[in-house]
Subunit: 381 residues, 2 copies
Amino acid sequence: MSVTHAAGFVAAGVEAGLKKSGGKDLALVQNVGPRDAAAVVFTSNRAKANPIIWSQQVIADGRVSAIVLNSGGANCYTGTQGFQVTHATAEAVGEKLGVSPGDVLVCSTGLIGEQLPLDIILAGVKATELSADGGVDASLAIMTTDSKPKRAVVEGTGWSIGGMAKGAGMLAPGLATMLVVITTDADLPSSALDTALRAATRVTFDRLDSDGCMSTNDQVTLLASGASGVVPDPAEFTAAVTAICHDLALQLQADAEGSSHDIAIETINAASEDDAVEVGRSVARNNLFKAAVFGNDPNWGRVLAAVGTTQAEFDPYAIDVSINGVRVCVSGEPGQSRDLVDLTPRAVHVLIDLKSGDSTATIFTNDLTHDYVHENSAYSS
Amino acid sequence: MSVTHAAGFVAAGVEAGLKKSGGKDLALVQNVGPRDAAAVVFTSNRAKANPIIWSQQVIADGRVSAIVLNSGGANCYTGTQGFQVTHATAEAVGEKLGVSPGDVLVCSTGLIGEQLPLDIILAGVKATELSADGGVDASLAIMTTDSKPKRAVVEGTGWSIGGMAKGAGMLAPGLATMLVVITTDADLPSSALDTALRAATRVTFDRLDSDGCMSTNDQVTLLASGASGVVPDPAEFTAAVTAICHDLALQLQADAEGSSHDIAIETINAASEDDAVEVGRSVARNNLFKAAVFGNDPNWGRVLAAVGTTQAEFDPYAIDVSINGVRVCVSGEPGQSRDLVDLTPRAVHVLIDLKSGDSTATIFTNDLTHDYVHENSAYSS
């Protein structure tokens, strides 16, 4: 399962002692080949954590031997000392595995603005015992406030893909706050991996917007071992990468901090895909709407107030809105009674018909709950 | 006090029966002259309520005789029927006061997507008894979830200004969600009022961003009776209008739904004022930071993560951040201990030094609390 599902990968997850709460907190994944092609998509936040800065250098040549990930600290806004910790971590992995530190990606997650204890990380790296069934342990070691690990697999024609993800808060595009590692035994060069990964993340992780807060540490990594010996059809491969990203993104949404509803905001008949994304994102970030959903209140006026803040092409007196199948707003006027809307299920579907074109996009978000506030206030830290 | 502080104005506030919770819900303010100059700033939301559409026509000639305001319903996304209610309301006021309906502004506030009961409004208009001390009643009648009325006065040189405001949620720029009526006995034409009002709202209401949610009904109205016979110095007048807008904006912030902290985010040494506003706004809309303040947790990493999402000019490795006087981040690295920060007072000051220029702006916001979620979920409606 997880990152060791595809042939050509070994992994481990250990309790190094970084997380105050205890539990596994350091994961290592090695690509044992025969290929070492890779592609990575990074956060678009301009405040980049040290492991992001390091990993951007590593991926420059499209080759990656291993990836090490720690929870218990983001190593962001930690200056020169923080960068040295990242560098030393890659060197320790290189020494342990007999690979170049320059081919080792590093990911960190946790509190911003605190130095990571290097000695604990180095001891943790040494303690890892990589194996072909280490994927589950690795998926456990990257959890922070996650209530459960996130893993997925997809089967191709003669090749396969496996992956793991972590993320429960600070979920917003560019990318959603998370670390994701996807592995495949397909035989593809870095450029092909990059094309498939960007196509996949654009319509999956980039459309997950749990709380509008963009992380400093997001990284989605795709590693290809070539161990299957099969060169996949590009379209099939992109579809498979998209499928596993979609699966993992929905797992992130389902486990979003304190959430009680998973909300899919589908905008149809938009003049462009960008318009549809902008409209969905605006609704997904409207705290009043999100609080209403928490209270099972189909307050569709808040949907329209959010749509009105966008630059998308639409006529306020043509728009339709449906919530869980009830068309509460028809051509900008009250439609079916809001009392017909049942918001007791966890899944909520908001359908916005802009009647301005033929483009569509869906944004995935969560409601705003007492527990979200509680988990993100000091009371829980 | 309030809108009847300046000479030349009479007002009233009555219980028409629009609010399910009871209490005054219809206010009327008349300018008895000798002048009838006015200026209005409207919401920039593209989903405009019917009273906004009506009032935009009324203000076109810069002359206003009266303004009628109701709580208990926003009259937004209510179609042709809703517009007819607004029109009939203005006609009823015109008939009662012997003025042209085309010189009567209308404001509504409350739930979006529900029709207002016209008969109740018409009976309410008839029941008003305007007087020179009716300003307090008027300020009470425009309250929705406000816990207290908002009123302010400023004295000029031989003239004065008074005002009232309502707003407690859906507070965000363009404008903050609110209705505001400001009256003055200064003798100024509509164009001068407009210049002063736009200058004032740009740095006051437009920088109040309690919850990132922009309303469909915002309207800030400035009425001038000329009853003092004094033509004020333009700079003094603009400063006075700015002062009363600032006063009312801080009253809105202090009464924001469920809030436990008033947060001022001051960005200094920005390359431009736009940059400073963008940075402050980004922090003000970061739910994770707002939840941390609720929990008295000085989580400055969330400030920097929010700054990193902007296009503002700054070097992540030069930035300083202080919270309530403690410089927790110096040149992008940990500075003084976060444990020194005391967040128990209601007032919170976040100072962000971008070191990129000499522009400054302050954005006013609130924390994200259990009570905010509660008040905006169905449990409270």
